[in-house]
């Protein structure tokens, strides 16, 4: 239980015990509560006062599967508010095995200096020069790090976009095969890392100094019960291993809620060509891997390895949100081009979602035609090259809208929406509008509630309540390091109780009746909302862009109809 504080101005590393105030926290709960306590809300996100915090979940590195999720937090240069960006791969478990609760990066190295933070098998921490990595793309960074430090190494790094401090720059994480393919994409935290002068964090995966589990026997039993629930879940047991998250292309298009051509329509012409079913078929035909373990300790295997016509690696995994942003929003109905764009974004180090939407806004403004895959690739390459237009694109959809004086920009708090149109899935609009993160697909995603027929996506009834419940629950699961897919299987009172037993056995404490996930989730959201308020956010920032209220979306031809008053009641707690 230790914090590694790294001061980039002084090149000083301090190891400290975790203060009592933070006991029982990890992941998002820790990053958000710490940022609210330690970061001046009105600071320059790219200045020395901002802090970049890397926190594995409370349960990362334990034997509970699907807990290799890392929360990265800071004040976001994209939204100007608090940000937690969540990434899988291998780093969270590696940090957990070393008993590291968080790495807190403070200060700022002098302009032009670049460093890597190295943590070895014994947990020794050092800052080393990374000057030779300057301008390097992420796949190469990981490859070089693994060459130098061995295969049992986990890497977090930024690409050129992070070094340029662009507002949609990502932090990439290495997967189980050593590809820089997993992204903490949202909110521009790659730019914060670049502003600190930190190119990479390189962690040995063989650590053996994990924090002790208070009651190992009870923990084993509790883990068994949770695994049983996750494995019995049809989505996780059957659909995810075969199709991955891309399985959503079919239902969301069939429901007329797939925002495409920059959210002008709800059904993409030819969507079956970029569906999860088609993707799995192509991967199988070409000898790729449709059922890939991308993250440490995963039992779901929602990842895949997408290969080209010659069977050569392109990306892992091709995911629903990327297929939507790069294919739906841009009208590019070609999985090979989408996969190439995914790889390029990962390599340059930008969020695929924000990048796809930024391209779509440019296309909508008439800069290029919808469906022009070649133009999209050239545009993303421009980000990597740091051209003038590339820097505008890399600053996100709102910057592109401003550049072209185009007001159809689907963002909330500066961050793009995800693959569900608020006009045809009202509850997603509630979450997009109110999440302290800006529009976000994991904060409180209700597509499952629609498909389960718990709610009607076009009827305002129950949307606010369900968004509130899910936002609270997900904030709690994000604190544990539990992956989104596994969490979806655990969203009911019995599963909460089963999961609570894991926490109790880990900490050796008794949870209160409403402590997990409700009490914990509310505590996290309150800290996030408080930070945003102090940063200058008001209720007016919890609104969707005008066109969602005014421009009907075909085929349902509906608009977003949840009132401002109802939106403002989401966080009545």
């Amino acid at each position: 239980m230790k914090f590694i504080r790294v001061n980039m101005s002084e090149k000083a590393i301090r190891v400290e015990d975790v203060p009592q105030d933070y006991a029982g926290l990890g992941g998002r709960g820790l990053t958000s509560i710490m940022i609210n306590a330690e970061v001046p809300p009105k600071c320059d996100p790219l200045g020395p006062e901002n802090k970049l915090i890397f926190a594995p979940g409370l349960l990362s590195g334990t034997t509970l599967p699907n807990t290799s999720r890392l929360s990265i937090g800071a004040k976001s240069p994209l939204t100007g508010g608090i940000k937690e960006s969540n990434v899988g791969g291998t780093v969270a478990a590696a940090l957990g095995r070393l008993g590291i609760t968080a790495i807190v990066v403070e200060g700022q190295a002098p302009e032009g200096e670049l460093y890597a933070l190295r943590i070895d098998e014994e947990g020794n921490v050092s800052l080393i020069s990374a000057q030779e990595y300057t301008g390097m793309r992420t796949y190469k960074v990981v490859e070089k790090a693994l060459d130098v430090y061995g295969e049992k190494t986990a890497v977090l790094c930024i690409g050129p976009a992070g070094e340029y401090k662009l507002a949609i720059a990502s932090i990439q994480s290495s997967d189980t095969d050593g590809h820089a393919s997993r992204a903490a994409g949202r909110g521009g935290l790659g730019a914060v890392m670049g502003s600190k002068g930190l190119k990479a964090i390189i962690v040995d995966r063989r650590g053996k100094s994990a924090d002790p589990v208070a009651d190992p026997e009870a923990f084993r039993e509790a883990v068994k019960a949770v695994v049983q629930i996750v494995k019995a879940d049809h989505m996780n047991a059957v659909v995810m291993p075969q199709l991955g998250t891309a399985a959503l292309v079919a239902p969301v298009n069939s429901m007329g809620a797939f925002p495409c051509y920059n959210a002008r329509k709800g059904v993409l012409d030819g969507w079956e060509e970029i569906s999860g079913e088609r993707m799995a078929e192509m991967i199988k035909e070409r000898g790729g891997n449709p059922t890939h373990r991308g993250c440490d300790q995963c039992v779901i295997h929602c990842s895949n390895v997408f290969v080209d016509k010659d069977g050569k690696y392109v990306t892992s995994a091709l995911e629903y949100e990327t297929i939507w942003a790069m294919g739906g929003m841009t009208g590019i109905v070609d999985l090979d081009t989408i996969a190439r764009l995914d790889n390029l974004c990962d390599d340059i180090g930008v969020d695929t979602m924000s990048t796809g939407v930024a391209i779509a806004v440019a296309m909508d403004a008439g800069y290029k035609a919808f469906g022009d895959g070649g133009a999209a690739i050239e545009m993303v390459e421009e980000i990597g090259q740091g051209t003038e237009f590339g820097r505008i694109l890399g600053s996100g959809p709102a910057a592109v809208g401003k550049h072209f004086n185009h007001d159809r920009v689907p963002v909330v708090k500066g961050q793009s929406i995800a693959a569900y149109d608020p006009r045809a899935m009202l509850g997603l609009g509630v979450t997009f509008a109110t999440s302290p993160m800006g529009a976000d697909h994991t904060a409180g995603n209700m597509v499952g509630a629609y498909l389960e027929q718990i709610l009607d996506p076009l009827d305002p009834k129950g949307q606010v309540e369900t968004s509130r419940f899910l936002q609270i629950a997900m904030a709690a699961f994000d604190t544990m390091g539990q992956c989104f897919m596994a969490s979806v299987a655990l969203l009911n009172p019995d599963s909460f109780a089963a999961f609570g037993k894991v926490i109790e056995a880990k900490l050796g404490t008794q949870l209160g009746p409403d402590e997990f996930p409700i009490g914990l989730g509310i505590r996290v959201l309150k800290a996030e909302r408080e930070f945003n308020r102090k940063a200058g956010f008001t209720q007016e920032d919890d609104r969707l862009p005008r066109f969602f209220y005014e421009e009907p979306l075909p085929p349902h031809n509906t608009v977003f109809v949840i009132s401002d008053q109802e939106i403002d009641s989401v966080f009545d707690f």
């Binding site: 075969q242 697909h441 009607d456």
Partner: protein
């Protein structure tokens, strides 16, 4: 009544030679419900099937109407 059905997710697995671009055409009695359709296709409850016609999810006891393509998929959470 003839109904054109397309299967998504892992539902096409038990229909050898299923072509995604064409789907399948089946004959169901007039007045058949969503539940009857799923039973006809031998899709069990555990497969979490969802029937969508013209952009709307149908309930188990809704009556099937001819003339509209039917998409059947599986309930999953967000991704």
């Amino acid at each position: 009544m003839k109904v054109k059905v397309k299967l998504y997710g892992t539902l096409s697995g038990r229909f050898p030679g299923y072509q995604p671009s064409r789907g399948i055409e089946i004959e169901i009695p007039a007045g058949a419900t969503v539940q009857d359709l799923l039973a006809h296709l031998e899709i069990s409850e555990s497969q979490r099937a969802v029937v969508i016609v013209e952009g709307r999810i149908l309930k188990a006891d809704d009556e099937m109407q001819g003339g509209f393509p039917v998409n059947i998929m599986q309930a999953i959470g967000g991704g």
